[in-house]
Symmetry: C2
Amino acid sequence: MELAIDALISRIDELGNPSCVGLDTCIEYLPEHWQQKCGSFEDAAKYIRDFNFGIIDAISDIVPCVKVQIACYEMYGIEGMRSFCDTINYARSKGLSVIADAKRGDIGSTAKCYSAAYLGRAKLQGKELPAFESDFVTVNAYLGSDGIKPFLEDVGRCNKGIFILVKTSNPASGELQDRRFEDGRTLYEAMGDYVIEWGKPFIGRYDYSAVGAVVGCTHRRQAESLRKRLKGVFFLIPGYGAQGGKAEDIAVCFDEQGRGGIVNSSRAILTAHQGAFKGLDFANAAREAALIMREELSKAIKGRANG
Amino acid sequence: MELAIDALISRIDELGNPSCVGLDTCIEYLPEHWQQKCGSFEDAAKYIRDFNFGIIDAISDIVPCVKVQIACYEMYGIEGMRSFCDTINYARSKGLSVIADAKRGDIGSTAKCYSAAYLGRAKLQGKELPAFESDFVTVNAYLGSDGIKPFLEDVGRCNKGIFILVKTSNPASGELQDRRFEDGRTLYEAMGDYVIEWGKPFIGRYDYSAVGAVVGCTHRRQAESLRKRLKGVFFLIPGYGAQGGKAEDIAVCFDEQGRGGIVNSSRAILTAHQGAFKGLDFANAAREAALIMREELSKAIKGRANG
């Protein structure tokens, strides 16, 4: 069975598109006549799901991957979680790699449950049952390696992948992450070095590990130094577009072959029908925005590879 | 309206019991004849819920608080989440303070959704609807203050509380948390200092803030130094019992008035019917174990107050 990271990279190569559509679907992103119908969790969950299905149908032949931000679904309770579940299952059925953006992390025994929820399976009476099975899950490693171990076991056993928070895209990420330890490394560098270690047993055929890192493109200097430092670590790159990251910020996140990361965009794609492509329906607008993003990234990364 | 932290502390005083029952309910904790019936998520979720209700009924007059570990429910999908939801609602209906142990944390816009899920409410068509409304939620602040701000807003607006991971109870917690920055502070100290700052606007009538810290009792030296450093910060203390924390480790987590924290115990209470109180049904066994824990803590903390 192919490693999830290898499947993702070969699909990126095939489509010439290292981008990821972030299904951080808020009510405000929906067409207005749908928004007006969202008066209960049940309705909100239904229209969010329908919207996601429309986006997935519109982009699955040009985009390799979706990232589903679970917080946007948890806020609508059980019904929201059902919508999350339907969304990841539908995306996978369409051949997309799915990243559950859950940023989970806990002590070992608890991490085992989280990993069962998103990567592995729950065991019941000898059966193994999936809960919210995805290809990748994002993980917070503040607790240290014993909280990561259960995820690593499922990465190996079930051919999955994880992305560990290293240097996040938000403005305040430096408060702790950029702080320097006595040994000269920043917290994000120390975290990155752990990611290298944890990922060593899971290097795939493109020389990238199934254990990747979240590295925002909104902090270019740090992203550039991390790309050099973290050989073999594939980046999930948030912060592009609405959060302020530009094409030139992206370029430094990729290697000389133009590989090494996938760039997420949520708002610019999901709200294209309210902005850049007003007049088109939401799905076609999202497709147009995704095609533009593909061009932008392609140019930026080629610039990098040639420069 | 009373601050959640004040309600918790006054109930601790009233019952003479600074303990918290951790509903980290695994299938293996259930009575054997129930375990055998758990062949699907639906059945697992049903029996876990029935078990939790039994525990809650058995301890709600002697224990002030439950902590519900959401990972144990997420692993059983939508049905598991329904069981989580039923559990927190039932516990609150019985007058218990409820800590959703979710260790959430993300960038600001996403943290806002998480906070709506666990502390605040989701807004739909002018209505405010609760998803998994709890009194407290645990939070991971690796991303920095802009990811904490939405939680703080709901702490103020909805009279809730949060516990931020500072020094966790797991064996490997020191890998990152004990590492020392150039300014002489460890990561857990730097995190603790942020908790003081974030909590300042929310100090209640017992001089403790609604913004607390998770400080494990399995690392006694660090817990002791944190108790001295973090004046006004209430501790959620995991690690007691099955994880190795002892009464003397607990003592250092409390102040001279015998206040300042709540000690979680999960396995020792939930599995009392399989061990210390074999022969009793699970609910009565849990009650006996909870009474013993109350005595142990009471002695340990009095020793501290007198010593």
